[in-house]
């Protein structure tokens, strides 16, 4: 897993609440190799049924080309557990997501893929989106070590992250490696449990 330390990148606003993972990658693109999925990101939000790009979707606008951060609305990436919703955005260059709230499963999936989901207060996230609309192509800086987001207005917000997740991201290690070092505790738990729930 690639480490995440800090990122300064063009940020793109996604204004709708409850954007579900079916919108991030529609089901018909699942069941294919990861390399083939990249063009499917936000496919049906980006494109009209005839395949043409919708000009009103920010990702289709020149000002936001090369974006690496998404600033979203509440309950971003809710719904299906498909981890492809994270990987398809990572494969398109997005490593940080800022929203007032996230779907829980997506939030967890980010940390398995070197991506950072950041929760900030609703009013501040709305302010950031407005600033990005006003000045397409503006940068946001996310610094994991100091747990800060620097907006296009220069204002710095602190965000919370569990030290466990932070440490794994900074070092680029996934949790399987860490957990295997707890093999003896797992075995001890299993030995205890064998008596307690012997019917399993």
């Amino acid at each position: 897993m690639e480490a995440f330390t800090s990122l300064t990148a063009v940020a793109v606003p996604v204004d709708l609440p409850n954007v579900d993972t079916d919108q991030i990658i529609p089901a018909r693109f699942l069941g294919r190799a990861r390399e083939e999925q990249a063009p499917a990101m936000f496919h049906d939000m980006r494109r009209a049924p005839d395949g043409s790009l919708r000009p009103d979707f920010p990702l289709n606008q020149d000002g936001f080309s090369g974006a690496g951060i998404i600033v979203a609305e509440r309950n971003f990436a809710c719904g299906s557990s498909r981890e492809n919703a994270v990987t398809v955005m990572v494969d398109n260059g997005f490593r940080a997501f800022i929203a007032p709230s996230f779907g829980d499963i997506f939030f967890n999936n980010c940390f398995q893929n070197g991506a950072l989901p950041i929760m900030l207060p609703e009013a501040r996230v709305a302010e950031l989106r407005a600033a990005l609309h006003a000045k397409p192509g503006a940068n946001i800086t996310v610094d994991l070590a100091s747990q800060t987001v620097t907006g296009p207005d220069g204002k710095i917000d602190h965000f919370e992250i569990d030290s466990f997740r932070k440490d794994c991201l900074l070092r680029g290690v996934d949790s399987v490696t860490l957990t295997l070092s707890h093999a003896s505790e797992i075995a001890a738990f299993e030995a205890r449990q064998k008596e307690e729930v012997s019917w399993l």
């Binding site: 699942l30 509440r74 019917w199």
Partner: protein, 469 residues
């Protein structure tokens, strides 16, 4: 000193702690791991890392997402990629030795139907699956939640997961549900009330007299859609209804082990006076048959209502969202829901494909004709056989329904079972997201009885009128 009062969730959590880190992270032991055809990629990653499946005896699998429902077997799957994904289950089974209900097995079906049906799901257990609707299994008093494919690899290799403890929420539905009201109407009413993000970060315990009076199958429907309110999991306290349901099932304990398990299970429910981080109460008597009008499960209204008007929205963002949803759904504000005509009907999915769902739909269909193309898709081979033994398949077929093979089918839009752009579908599934049932398809979530009523009338109909007629 008196023991502190604990919630059911807290008790199960505490019994499964392997490691507690000072920073608040817990390595939680996982008792049961359910897998489906979509887990093939996780097996490939497990193997690529040189890891093995730690507990094949705690791992169960059945293909559901990619299977065809127009015919049985691998040959019925048209897409060669999808056929390969389903075929991988037998290969992985041979390699790792978990319990499998594969495509030729009568016990095959939707993982969230099969788990409870086989007695794999039990009170007090932790259960995970690489699917968001794993919340279903909480209906039996298990702590069950969906995970991503990397966490699936983690569970395969270690039988555990790193978790920060979620908060606890109690949703009480008190009073008696009215005539014709089902668990599906209850959960849609709950989501309409608290919103699609109303339970984010929480494990929901459903309580109250209306919940206790639900059958286990109704509770499965209820807990299934916890994720549509953002909940990490949903649970109902195990009681005699639960124990009677489990008794005699293939993977449930037997004889002396049953008695021991029963004693353990009776201690699972929340203690008197347990404190929840959030509490919501609904009056069950006021819940009507529900229909969704928009593109989020929170967009649900009673069948007696009209399509909402965006001009009544509290703010501009909400108004714009409603306008967008109505444009996609092709609906005019102010239209009575009962005036909305449907093009297709789908009865099935992990939400509503169990025997009671099929009975309830068949009771409405009996002696009537579907006037739009309609499907009934049993949740498992076991459900299908039972429905056939009861003659339900005949009722559906005589009404013009297609009676199909078990699988996720039209709920998930990834196995060939999809609608056409612009089609309006009355569906017993769980998500009315844009494009969920195919590009441009308009999904309205309803109960099985309401779906059946829409099938025979060609428009949404208050099923209470049909049942009285």
């Amino acid at each position: 000193m008196a023991q502190p009062s604990l919630t059911m969730f807290e008790k199960i959590w505490r019994r499964h702690v392997v490691v507690d880190r000072p920073d608040g992270y817990t390595l939680l032991y996982i008792d049961r791991h359910l897998m489906h055809d979509g887990s093939a990629g996780s097996f490939a990653r497990l193997r690529a890392r040189g890891l093995s499946l730690r507990r094949p005896d705690r791992s169960f699998a059945t293909p559901d997402h990619y299977v065809a429902t127009g015919g049985r077997g691998l040959g019925a799957i048209e897409d060669s990629h999808h056929r390969g994904i389903v075929a991988a289950m037998a290969v992985n089974h041979a390699r790792y030795g978990f319990t499998v209900f594969d495509i030729g097995d009568e016990r095959q079906g939707i993982a969230h139907v099969v788990g409870p049906e086989q007695g794999i799901t039990q009170p007090g257990l932790t259960l995970v699956c690489g699917d968001s609707h794993t919340s279903t299994h909480g209906a039996l008093g298990a702590l069950a939640f969906g995970i991503g494919s990397s966490e699936v690899v983690h569970v395969m290799a270690t039988q555990s997961l790193w978790q920060r403890k979620p908060k606890a929420m109690r949703i009480a539905v008190e009073g008696n549900l009215g005539f014709g009201i089902t668990a599906k109407d209850v959960i849609l009413a709950i989501i309409a009330r608290i919103g699609a993000g109303g339970a984010i970060g929480h494990v929901v315990e459903y309580a109250g007299s209306a919940i206790r009076s639900l059958s286990v199958e109704g509770r499965l429907t209820l807990c299934n859609m916890s994720i549509e309110a953002g909940g990490r999991a949903g649970m109902v306290a195990p009681d005699n209804t639960t124990f009677a349901y489990l008794h005699g099932r293939a993977f449930a304990p037997k004889d002396a082990a049953w008695d021991k398990a029963l004693a353990y299970w009776r201690d699972v429910p929340s203690d008197e006076g347990a404190v929840f981080d959030k509490e919501v109460t609904l009056d069950g008597a006021t819940i009507a048959p529900m229909v969704t009008w928009g593109t989020s499960p929170e967009d649900a209204v009673p069948i007696t209502a009209r399509i909402p008007d965006p001009s009544s929205a509290p703010d501009a963002a909400k108004r714009e969202g409603m306008e967008r949803a109505l444009a996609y759904m092709g609906l005019q504000p102010g239209t009575p829901v009962e005036d909305v005509a449907v093009d297709r009907v789908f009865i099935g999915s992990c939400t509503n494909s169990r025997i009671e769902d099929l009975r309830s739909a068949a009771a409405v269909v009996r002696g009537r004709k579907a006037v739009v193309p309609s499907w009934a898709v049993a949740g498992s081979g076991v459900v299908k056989r039972q429905a056939e033994a009861e003659g339900l398949d005949r009722i559906f077929r005589e009404a013009g329904f297609e009676w199909r093979e078990p699988g996720c089918s039209m709920c998930v839009g990834m196995n060939g079972d999809t609608g056409k752009p612009g089609q309006r579908i009355a569906s017993t599934s769980n998500r009315n997201f844009v494009g969920r049932q195919g590009q441009g398809v308009r999904t309205h979530l309803v109960s099985p009885a309401m779906a059946a009523a829409a099938a025979v009338n060609g428009r949404f109909t208050d099923v209470r009128k049909l049942a009285q007629a």
